[in-house]
């Protein structure tokens, strides 16, 4: 289930709830490892809010990264 997306000039971020951590996961973080800005962005992605546009290199997430909160969310960066 896709729960939120944000589009940008250089980056398109989305987060999807996943049941398990994929075996090939390259990055895995607990929500407490996010700084305030990244946390707000993550919350927005999860809630389906519109999140501000940003260049890909400034995205506070890696493509495929799993964030552990009250569920596990996989972030995709396109």
């Amino acid at each position: 289930m896709a729960v939120g997306t944000s589009s940008g000039r250089h980056a398109h971020l989305s987060a999807r709830e996943v049941e398990t951590v994929p075996a090939d996961v390259t990055a895995l973080r607990h929500v407490d490892q996010l700084d305030d800005e990244a946390f707000d962005q993550f919350r927005g992605l999860v809630d389906g809010d519109t999140v501000n546009v940003q260049p890909a290199e400034e995205a506070p997430f890696e493509d495929g990264e799993v964030i552990v909160h009250t569920a596990y969310y996989r972030v995709t960066l396109r």
Partner: protein
């Protein structure tokens, strides 16, 4: 002359200090000493490993041994520091090796405290701090049916969640009337109690442990509380606090006060010795008094600040100015965060918005200093910013309880008017 830096502890405070030291001082000799057998891992995710939700270990390591080699940082695993000699600028270890330093960082954190009752070290009674602990907990939890959890705080609830995730029916023995009674009222804690019950973990109030009961093999089989009531359980999790790892500082002259006392620059009272992470009682520039944090973000930032100051030229010290937060993420659709200093202060406000939403805020001298949010975290960053900016909230505290509070609802700070 090449500078030489020694870090004791390879948790997140020591690990982030090592990274920053190398960035700030490309040619220095850097040594990281740890008594654990593995390099820096993600301590705040090992609970998910213990729950069985993250079955693989690799993604939980933040640094592998190559990380240190690539940065020319010497990593000494399985090495326990027993003594430091500030006059000689030397660290002594149990293994018999000595390490000289120009500047030293102590980032040794704490060790879970045992209950001072009979059989508290029986087989099946778990304490939780290291990855090794997590492996033992995971193995035992997988084959257990009945559990007992002791310690009504942020770490105790991890054991409750492990029981829930592993299908262990458990009793959660608490001394008072509610979970985390230092930060939550019964209204707020009630939401957590309901969530625990949904995990098949039953909160038991006005309880605790008088002694544990064991079988002939020394395996725990239950606990008797001070009221004489017996609870069955072959899996027991105890989290009643930390004893800070300061024994090796005895005789060093370093000031301790349930932790190592440092200023806002992470410097101890002894020249060239710094401390960072859980172990510090640091001068909090926002609170204007010494305080303690027990959180990942704070330990990471303190490690980086200490490293910068260990390498900084005179007069260029960086201060630690930070509002930490600590989440509980065990309950589906029920987020929880505690931020700043929710257990102290001279005033507080709280409100319940629904059966799953609650907010409590603590104040000191008219300023927000901490709080707990349950159910809706949309204001987490806003409240942290208000704390950082030290906004004067005299006469406006209730505004912060408005369900849809926004920063703009506050009067502008005096200097901007």
């Amino acid at each position: 002359m090449t500078e030489s830096y020694v870090i004791i502890g390879d948790g997140i405070a020591g690990g982030s200090a090592a990274k920053t030291l190398r960035e700030e001082s490309p040619d220095a000799d850097i040594t990281v000493i740890t008594d654990e057998g593995e390099p820096l891992y993600n301590r705040i995710l090992i609970k998910e490993y213990a729950k069985g939700k993250i079955p693989m270990e690799d993604p939980l390591f933040l640094h592998d041994e190559e990380w240190y080699e690539e940065r020319d940082i010497a990593l000494e695993l399985n090495t326990h520091v027993t003594h430091i000699d500030p006059d000689g600028h030397v660290v002594h270890t149990h293994e018999g090796d000595d390490y000289e330093y120009d500047a030293l960082l102590v980032a040794t954190g704490g060790t879970p405290r045992q209950l001072p009752v009979d059989n508290s070290d029986a087989d099946g009674v778990h304490h939780f701090w290291t990855f090794q602990d997590a492996r033992g907990i995971a193995d035992h939890a997988e084959e257990s049916e009945k559990g007992i959890v002791v310690g009504a705080g942020l770490l105790g609830i991890d054991f409750a969640a492990i029981c829930g995730a592993r299908g262990i029916e458990a009793n959660y023995l608490m001394r008072g009337d509610c979970w985390w009674r230092y930060a939550l009222s019964e209204d707020g804690a009630g939401i957590i109690h309901d969530a625990l019950r949904e995990l098949d973990v039953e909160p038991v109030f006005q309880s605790g442990v008088d002694h544990f009961v064991t079988d002939d093999d020394g395996q725990v089989t239950g606990a008797v509380d001070p009221n004489g009531e017996e609870f069955e359980g072959e899996f027991v999790g105890v989290s009643i606090g930390l004893d800070f790892n300061t024994e090796f500082l005895r005789g060093s002259g370093i000031e301790t006060d349930d932790g190592i006392v440092v200023d806002e620059f992470m410097e101890t009272n002894v020249e060239d010795i710094y401390a960072a992470g859980d172990i510090t009682r640091f001068y909090d520039v926002i609170l204007e008094e010494h305080a303690q944090n027990g959180s990942w973000d704070s330990a990471k930032k303190q490690g980086a600040v200490a490293a910068k100051n260990m390498t900084a030229a005179d007069g260029e010290a960086e201060e630690f100015r930070h509002v930490s937060s600590y989440s509980i993420s065990h309950f589906k659709d029920l987020p929880f965060v505690s931020f700043g200093h929710p257990t102290i202060g001279d005033d507080d406000r709280e409100r319940k918005y629904s059966d799953t939403e609650w907010r409590r805020l603590t104040f000191k001298n008219g300023k927000l200093i901490g709080g707990v949010l349950i159910g809706d975290l949309k204001l987490q960053s806003v409240f942290k910013r208000i704390i950082r900016e030290e906004r004067d909230l005299e006469g406006q505290k209730d505004l912060l309880l408005e369900e849809d509070f926004e920063m703009e609802m506050l009067e502008a700070p005096a200097q901007e008017q």
